[in-house]
Symmetry: C2
């Protein structure tokens, strides 16, 4: 039988993910009622050569594995509690553990368990999985599907820094690269925003792609003002930065007239669904141009 | 920096897994207090060429991925609730999803979320991770560390069937192989046993190796009667079957004089710690002989 592409596989998974806690696999994390509270659960995988460069410091890889999962919890307004690690042994395992320890310490999260396996082959690209669990601080936990026509679209901060950092690492220029190597999940921000938003997600795969997903989940169109998006990159790279992932800003919609509880950047408005889920300065983004990285959720 | 072997890596992880819910990474799963109840959490990884044959039916691989994780919950006396899947795309993804659906349906468990990634390379051995979460039905949830001197050691059923099944698949003999391909986690048995045991674990890596781990966790020696271990293999293969994993029987210790609540096989007694954690017919198992598969926990 043929292998599936990611879209087809996830569509097939949706067919069996019929528990309400799975939220149709459409949100950044699952939300499961338990013991009178709500658990927030997410699992992300990083693959060498796909999600990180084979030349990267494994301490940075471990940090980022934790940070990306915690960013999914942030997007649900959750307080993280613990993680389980699925680790494939390989080069620089001591550095991996040190980066893991640093991230868990900084974000105040417990290592609860996991599994450690050999790759069976020294030349196999490695895969690292992490499950993060947290406690919802506001219920129902925010979803991607609640945006309402008329809402203002807000972004927590600039995009582009991770792109610049990636290029600095790839080309070994010595320019700052921390935004790419050591992203910081916006946990406090997510918790502050949760009670006020109609929809929330983290921007992991590119602002335009993730905005499209939020629009489709909500059954609306997101109309973005291209120049209103704050940038951490040269102005000439604006269009690249709008399509680049890994910045882990929070993208939210809030009813017009309601001020966000923390400093945010207004970047557009929610309008009635049209032929396209996304408008950029009133136009659909150019056909044939990738909107971002379709390598995960 | 050099890569670590599994023992070294896990020892280093233990140094940062200092939350009591992690139980020192010594049990089959973590046990986290939440909302007045106890969550049981486990994560296992299966790697092509290490944990399954590249020629195997991917429906069986998906089934086994679910079953092995649920077996860890069984060993903690937990009622499973849901799973998160970390899937690397590749051959026979439709079959994988069908096996996943079958296992989740049979065991009554929800697919809550996860991540789907490409391998970046068609020839890369694939890795599949699964996180299973459940609810403790008896607290404190059983551990490996509670065996007491004088306890009777009980096993839930025979070992060897998975070994015979593996050989049938490997050699394409057409002999029965279901025990290897489609193991069944002993969930009802685990819940029935939990209130009565001093220690419990599932036998995933071989009876002698796992009995050694239970002995070391409890600070005792396990004295096993070789001929008392029930066998699902030819008598000539007894010593192999005692070292083969994948049977997922439950190994427990119960105070002498207490009858197990379900049919079990008495296979030995707990004695005071000596130079060796395991005695087989009163002798240490032969030096230089592997006791089982050290490929996971």
């Amino acid at each position: 039988m043929p292998s599936f592409d990611e879209r087809t596989f996830i569509a097939a998974l949706r067919g069996i993910a019929n528990h309400p806690a799975a939220r149709g696999l459409g949100d950044d994390a699952a939300a499961l009622e338990f013991g009178g509270e709500t658990l927030i659960l997410t699992h992300d995988v990083m693959v060498e050569g796909v999600h990180y460069l084979a030349s990267q410091d494994m301490a940075d890889v471990a940090w980022k594995l934790v940070a990306t999962n915690l960013s999914d919890l942030a997007a649900m307004g959750a307080q993280p509690m613990g993680v389980l690690l699925g680790h494939m042994l390989g080069r620089d395992d001591a550095a991996f553990i040190e980066g893991l320890r640093q991230a868990l310490t900084v974000f105040g999260v417990a290592l609860l368990g996991g599994d450690t396996v050999g790759s069976g082959n020294e030349n196999t690209p490695r895969a690292h999985g992490l499950t993060a669990i947290g406690r919802a601080t506001h219920t129902p936990a925010p979803s991607r599907s609640g945006a309402q026509i008329g809402d203002i679209i807000w972004l927590s901060g600039p995009v582009g820094a991770a792109m610049m950092g990636f290029e600095a690492v790839r080309d070994a220029t010595g320019e700052p690269s921390g935004a790419f190597r050591r992203p910081v999940p916006l946990l406090d921000e997510g918790r502050a925003l949760a009670p006020h938003v109609t929809a929330m997600m983290d921007v992991s795969d590119g602002l335009l792609l993730d905005a499209t997903r939020l629009a489709e989940a909500s059954g609306v169109t997101l109309s973005l003002d291209r120049m209103a998006v704050p940038l951490s990159a040269p102005e000439a790279r604006r269009d690249d930065a709008l399509r680049w992932g890994d910045d882990y800003q929070l993208l939210v919609t809030i009813p017009r007239g309601v001020e966000p509880p923390i400093p945010m950047h207004a970047i557009g408005t929610v309008v009635a669904a049209s032929d396209v889920p996304l408008l950029l300065d009133g136009q659909p983004p150019a056909l044939g141009t990738s909107l971002g990285y379709e390598h995960g959720t």
